[in-house]
Amino acid sequence: MNTVISPRQDPTARSFLELRDLKIHFPTDDGVVKSVDGLTFSLERGKTLGIVGESGSGKSVSSLGILGIYHRGNAKVSGEIWLDGQELVGASPETVRGLRGKRMAMIFQDPLSAMHPYYTVGDQIIEAYRVHHKVSKKVARKHAIDLLARVGIPQPDRRVDDYPHQFSGGMRQRAMIAMALSCDPELLIADEPTTALDVTVQAQILDLMRDLQQEFNSALIIITHDLGVTAELADDVLVMYGGKCIEYGTATEIFENPEHPYTWGLLGSMPRLDQPVTERLLPIKGTPPSLINVPSGCAFHPRCAFDGRTDGASDTVVPELQLTGTSGHRVRCHMPAHVRQQIWLNEIKPTLEGTGGLAVADMSALPSASEEHSEETA
């Protein structure tokens, strides 16, 4: 186990944000949904972590888990979450509530449904500010207008009284960002902040987020299906599959020397490795795994073209997240590192560069796509 997890063995010297073996399981009538199953990573202020993975891989649950939204209720949360030296999983719900929105905030995917339809944009920002700051309504309103101006909403003193449905999609996302920033959070999590927007607006929002992060020096986690967004913003990248991290490293490493077959599949859906992406991820052949009956061994093996090269280990033994190379690059795969690197260099990379995308050919040579694992509902 020691080789596996934490980048830091010294428990006193922690990063600003540190997750250790975070697990979030939901007991349901059909069985336990292991939405997040042992997630470990760390993040410093001023840095950006990109979390990528298919739908249902546990990205949103992880981020809501960090915010402590699952503290109450029927979820089983275990592991550790350290925020600036304070452990959150064991902390009281009231303590975590006090941090939520103040020191850590979240930007949601669909700002129309994520904002309350019956309250004005201004009221919703004011509410977010006043729950953590004892100020008058007037002061809070002034603050809300300033924030709206900061995120680039024209005539903020008038738009502050508009309802969310009176905003355009891009404006709503800006307002959502303003709301998240209302208390100058040190940790900002953006869950697919641009998925609902059209391409030009996407670019503007990403620019805005980059600027704001530099201005506030916050730690940023950006969750997305879209590797292009990750390539633009992230310092580090974490690839999730079936509730687990299957590859983790600096953005350069992940984009230039990816070692996990699933990551290769994701990269195959990018139009060009070195260019900003405007297209959505093309699905990798097969369906995402059930989080109730996770496939034995490597969760990816029903869809993996290379599971034959591991002497059967892929089907039976869960691979560990192991260091490879330097600079903290980790991969969860049974194939030896030099084999993976060779496959990447000789078999995968040329096809990606050659076709400029759609290079999932290798993946489609797969054994039958796993229908039996497809009962998962989103």
Partner: protein, 337 residues
């Protein structure tokens, strides 16, 4: 916003117009198709012994020989400006709003209606407050503790509440609480609020509970479903992510959204009841509009039936109008469209 209100008000007026035409046709148009003549209409106002000539004279005086549209016009005109009835023995003035006179008692229908109204209003107001508060409270708690013992007990109780008719629960209540334990007023008691508020409430408590039980059950189920829906919405997740207290998340964000459709049915239910809670009024012998309507129908007293029908229709249409406007106030998305 203003044009929205004006539009809705005009719509409501049109609705009442349609109801009035239908009511009129049912009582004065359809019988003609079935062979009724002006004389048979007139006969209703006269004693059984009146001869054919007397009937003709009377039919003439009451305008039963006029074309239907004119009769309708006179009927409506009476409602707005009043009218004079010439019975031969002298002219009687019926002041607006005039719905004519009862066949049997010769009382002005409008006066009777106004007489009965306080009973029905008292019953409705008390019961509706009771069922709204209990129904919503139980529904919210059930939703928040979904699957708990409380939830299951409440929803089973609600099912029973919806399925038991008020004449059954009402009679059981009367039997036990009024006659066995002597805790509450016996059936048929009613004291005016202005005479003695305490006695008023005492005399109405059983009817209130009976009527409220029926609706509280439905409202509890409805609120529970709405709350479960709403608490799964994205904006609830956002509210939590802001660090709001759970109490604020539930009330300001959850309940606010879940209550909107409940306001709608509440308004309509109240409007409907103001036209008379027939079963409850009959069970407790309360002489309200429902009782009045049943009585009028049994006795075939057309002016009374028409009067109470229009009265009830008026409440329903006005309730609809108020609900529409409330909705626009509550939901900003309606306001603009």
């Amino acid at each position: 916003m203003v044009t929205f209100f004006i539009r809705r008000t005009i719509g409501a007026a049109l609705m009442l117009f349609v109801v009035s035409i239908s009511t009129f046709l049912i009582f004065f148009g359809l019988p003609r198709l079935a062979g009724a003549t002006p004389e048979t209409f007139a006969a209703r106002y006269l004693s059984r012994t009146a001869d054919a000539h007397a009937q003709q004279v009377f039919a003439e005086k009451l305008g039963f020989y006029d074309p239907l549209w004119l009769q309708y016009w006179n009927w409506i005109k009476a409602v707005f400006v009043g009218t004079d009835y010439d019975y031969g023995t002298g002219i009687e003035h019926c002041a607006a709003p005039c719905f004519g006179y009862s066949f049997r008692t010769n009382h002005a229908v409008w006066d009777d209606l106004v007489d009965r109204l306080p009973v029905t209003v008292s019953l409705t107001v008390g019961a509706s407050i009771l069922w709204l508060l209990t129904g919503v409270a139980v529904g919210v708690l059930s939703a928040l503790r979904k699957g708990s013992f409380f939830d299951r007990a409440a929803m089973t109780g609600a099912l029973a509440g919806v399925s038991l008719p008020p004449y059954f629960t009402g009679l059981m209540f009367l039997y036990f609480f009024s006659y066995q334990f002597d805790l509450t007023a016996p059936g048929g008691t009613y004291v005016n609020f202005t005479d003695d508020p305490g006695e008023w409430a005492y005399s109405l408590i059983l009817p209130w509970i009976t009527l409220a039980m029926l609706n509280a059950a439905a409202y509890a189920r409805f609120t529970r479903a709405g709350m479960l829906d709403t608490m799964g919405e994205d904006f609830i997740r956002t509210a939590r992510a802001k660090g709001l207290h759970e109490r604020v998340v539930v009330t300001k964000h959850g309940l606010r959204a879940a209550l909107t459709p409940i306001i709608t049915i509440f308004g309509l239910d109240v409007g409907l009841l103001l036209g008379g809670a027939i079963l409850t009024e009959s069970t407790f012998g309360l002489k309200g509009l429902g009782y009045f309507a049943i009585d009028a129908i049994n006795k075939q007293d057309f002016p009374q039936i028409m009067g109470v029908t229009m009265f009830a229709a008026f409440f329903v249409v006005v309730a609809n109008l108020i609900v529409d406007m409330l909705y626009a106030v509550v939901d900003p998305r309606v306001r603009l469209s």
